[in-house]
Amino acid sequence: MTDDDLLVASIEDGTVIDHVRAGQALNVLAVLGIDGSGGDRVSVGMNVASERLGRKDVVKVEDRELSRTEVDVVSLIAPEATINIIRDFEVARKERVDRPDEVVGVLACPNPRCITAADEPVDSRFDVLDDGVRCAYCETIVREGIADLIAGD
C-alpha cells in the first residue's frame, strides 16, 4: 500500500471507481447524480499517483453498488476507469467500464435548435460513437467536452 492509497480510506461496502482520468472525479459524481444531498458517504482522491495514468482520480461511494447503466455512463468521461464493488472490505467484483450503445437522460444536447432543447416531454438520447456521442434527435456529434453536457437538475 503506497502513501497515496492511504489518502482515501478503505470502505466496508460500496463502490470504488479507480483509474479515473485526473480532473474528472467531480464529473464522475455528476454523471452519477451524486451531490451529497442523498446522504451517500463519498470520498474523492484527486491527482493520486498512478502507474498507468501518471496522475489519477479515485471516487469511493459507500453502501452503494453501481448498476450496469451507471457504469456505462461513467465510461463516457472516464474510459480507463475500473469499478470495484466492495463487500466487507474485500473486492467482490472488479470490472472495466464498457461503452454503452446509447445514454438516455444524462446529457443535454448542445444544439440550441435541437427539439430536445425545447420544452418537450422526452429524455435526451445520445448514441455512443467510437470517439464521441451523437444526439439521437438532431444528430449533432460531440467529441470534446462531453462532461460539460451533463444535465443539471
Binding site: 435548435r113 427539439i115 420544452d119 422526452v122 451523437r134 438532431c138 444528430e139 456529434i141
Partner: protein
Amino acid sequence: MRHDHIVTAKQLSRADIEAVLDRAAEIDADPAGWTDHRPDALLGLCFFEPSTRTRMSFETAIKRLGGDAVDMGATDESAVAKGESLADTVRVIGGYVDALVLRHPREGAAKLAAEHVDVPLVNGGDGAGHHPTQTLLDLYTLRESTGLDGIDVGIVGDLKYGRTVHSLARALTNFDARQHFVSPESLQLPASVRYDLHERGAAVREHTDLSSVLGELDALYVTRIQRERFPDETEYREVAGQYRIDESTLAAARDDVVVMHPLPRVDEIAPEVDETDNARYFQQAHNGVPVRMALLDLLLEGSA
C-alpha cells in the same frame, strides 16, 4: 416499403427509393388514373414554420389521389402559442387523420413527433436537419435526366445549413454517384453529414472553387447562400457571386449538364439559364406532386 414514418433520407434504402420513384413514374404517366385511388384518406398538415410551396405540394398530392387535407393553420393562432408541446399537438392531430406532414424549425422535431403518433408521419423539413421528400423529388428529377448511377454531381452553395443538401448527400450514397461539394470554407458540410457519408463509404470531395470540378459534372445542384450567414453585405456579395450560375458557367461546363435547385432561388442562378436545355429546376418543383403522391400512397397502403 416498410416504414411507418419518413423522418430522414438516411432511413431509405435503394429499394425504398426506387419503389417511390417507380410509383411516381406510374402516376406521372397517367395522372387521371389515380384520382380516386385514396378517396377516404385525410392528410394532416402541421406546419410550425411557413412554407407555402411544400404545404401546397402535399395538399395537391393528397387531393390528386382523391383524398383531402386538413391544415393546422398558422402557428401563432394555434395551441403552440399557448405553450403546448409538439408531442401533445401531434398526438391530438394524429388522432384526426390518416397521415401527418410536419414542418418544424427545430432539428429532430420529426423524429420526436414520430414517437408520439400512430399514423404515418412525413418530415416536411426540420430545421437544418432533413427534408426527405425534397430529396425524393430531387432523385426523381436526376433519374429522369442523367440516371442515378455512374454520375458526377456537384452540390453547390450553403452545405452547412442546407437541409436539402444534407438529405440528398445521404440518399446519393445508395447509388454509384460521385459527389463533389462546392462551397465557401465557412459553409462546408457539418460533422454529422460527414460522419454518415464516411460510414456509408462515400468520399467527401470538397472544393471552394467551382471551376476546378465543373467540367466533370453531369449535374449541378445549386442552393442559396443566405445573407445572414455573413457578417457584412460586402463579404456576402463577394462570396455569393463566386457561386452564381450564369451563361459563362454553362459555357465552361459539359453541354448536357443538368442544373437543379430546390427553389426558391434569389439570384444564385441567372434568369438567362432558365431558357436553356440545362435548366431543370421548374421541372424539379413540378415533380414534387407525383413524388409526394407516390410516397403518400405507399405509406397509406402500408398502414391500411
